[in-house]
Amino acid sequence: MKQPLASVIPNFVIAPMAFISGACVMTIEMLGARILSPYFGGSLSVWGSIITIFMLALSVGYLIGGRLSSRSPNPVTYACFFIGAAVFSLPVILLADAIMEPIFLTIIDPRYGSLVASVLLFFIPTAILGMISPYSVRLMVSSEEDSGRMAGLLFFVSTVGSALGTLGTSFYFVLWWEVNEILWGATASLILAAGIILVTNYLVNGPNLKRTQRHEKQA
């Protein structure tokens, strides 16, 4: 059945959420090199591993997020992406050493060691963050004519978020806070984003998720 094009929560709420997810992706990526360097060094190949895995994870996330957006898109699922990304970021904070140590011991070549470590630490949270972009587009689009404009706006906002996440982390955050404190900050902002989405959904659509879908059908 063809889904009607409808916005379920206001675009001015969705856009800042995409900004947060963009910023979080790059904050975690910038810290990735710092997290891996005690085990795999600071060589160019370590950066190569991190960027490769982030790009792959994002691409998979885009694909899955796009597919999910075609099946009754709703703010609750959208909020779940943020919660999921936050939850799967926790191993980076809590289990990084436990995950990297056996890899360091079994894989001598730091290129492949850092690649495997990047997969285990960063793939899942980054892929989930990647799902947010296409899903945001779907939630923001209310008609076919403005779908391109909305996609453009969304990429603009989330990429500016990425740029500022990169700059903030590498210029200032590492000077002010510890790596894990910054990661807790990123996790907290993802949870905050999920909270804002759920509260907005409640205010706009009422407590019942089904009403959201009915609201869509009416539109």
């Binding site: 060094g41 600071g42 360091f104 790596v179």
Partner: protein, 302 residues
Amino acid sequence: MRNKLKLLIAQFTLLLLVALTGAGLVSAETIHEEKSKYRDITVTQVGDRRCLLFNVHRGDRNQTCMLVNDRDNLVFDYTRMSFAGLLLNGDPQNILVIGLGGGSIPMAFSDLYPQAKIDVIEVDEAVVRVAKEFFYFEETDNMTAIVDDGRPFIKRAGLRGIKYDYIVLDAFSGDYIPEHMLTREFLEEVKKIMTDDSVLVANTFSTSRLYDHESVTYQRAFNEFFNFKLPSSGNRIIITQLDPLPPRGELVTEARRLAESLGKYGVPLLDYTRRLSTTVDWDMSRRELTDQYSPGNLLQAQ
């Protein structure tokens, strides 16, 4: 007439030769340039002074020089200062040098202690190649250059129970020491490859805010260290060991014993004994550098 012409040609040739040599002596001639994975490498020569420069366009000062006709002579203060660790361990058998550069430190060690086993760790294979091609660095049965990052190398050596009795930390990336080799956790890993007889010699800078942070970190890891600075040098050398530091008298005795063998490298060991200080001249309230907090390059800029 013919003779006159010959004379003229001879005079002209002589003039040209003088002019060319003169020019060569005055301006540095770039004899090699390459972009490696990590940096721009430039080799210049002025007269018989040949220098290795990294990122010359950015004006970085980390470099090494060699006199091609007097190769034993260590040109820079910091290179000579790296041998002050011999005052604590005058007979090293297993030497580890992190950061190759032009190879002057490991080559002098190899010359001084031909029977000692020397491992040199260099992250950039291009630097190893350039050191071999332009700075007469040679691997021997006892001296090996290993292309690896210093930190994982030391971590792995620690897990394998390998020990070194003279460790020189001289790794510099673009701006400064790589941030993951400034942290408390790294120093704890270094301690694992040291024995009671081992000495650690770390080459750092004495300017910038980072000086305080580094000093606090080394102090927490080793309790105390010799702070070695020369008025002529912007470098500060940290010299320490696992045991408490020896009294000055012992250093002087050791310096007298070793002075002669180090003379040809231009290392004034006896003078150095007066320069090794244990006085705290840094801000002890500064934050320790850890794997969680190590903004080395940002602090270096301040």
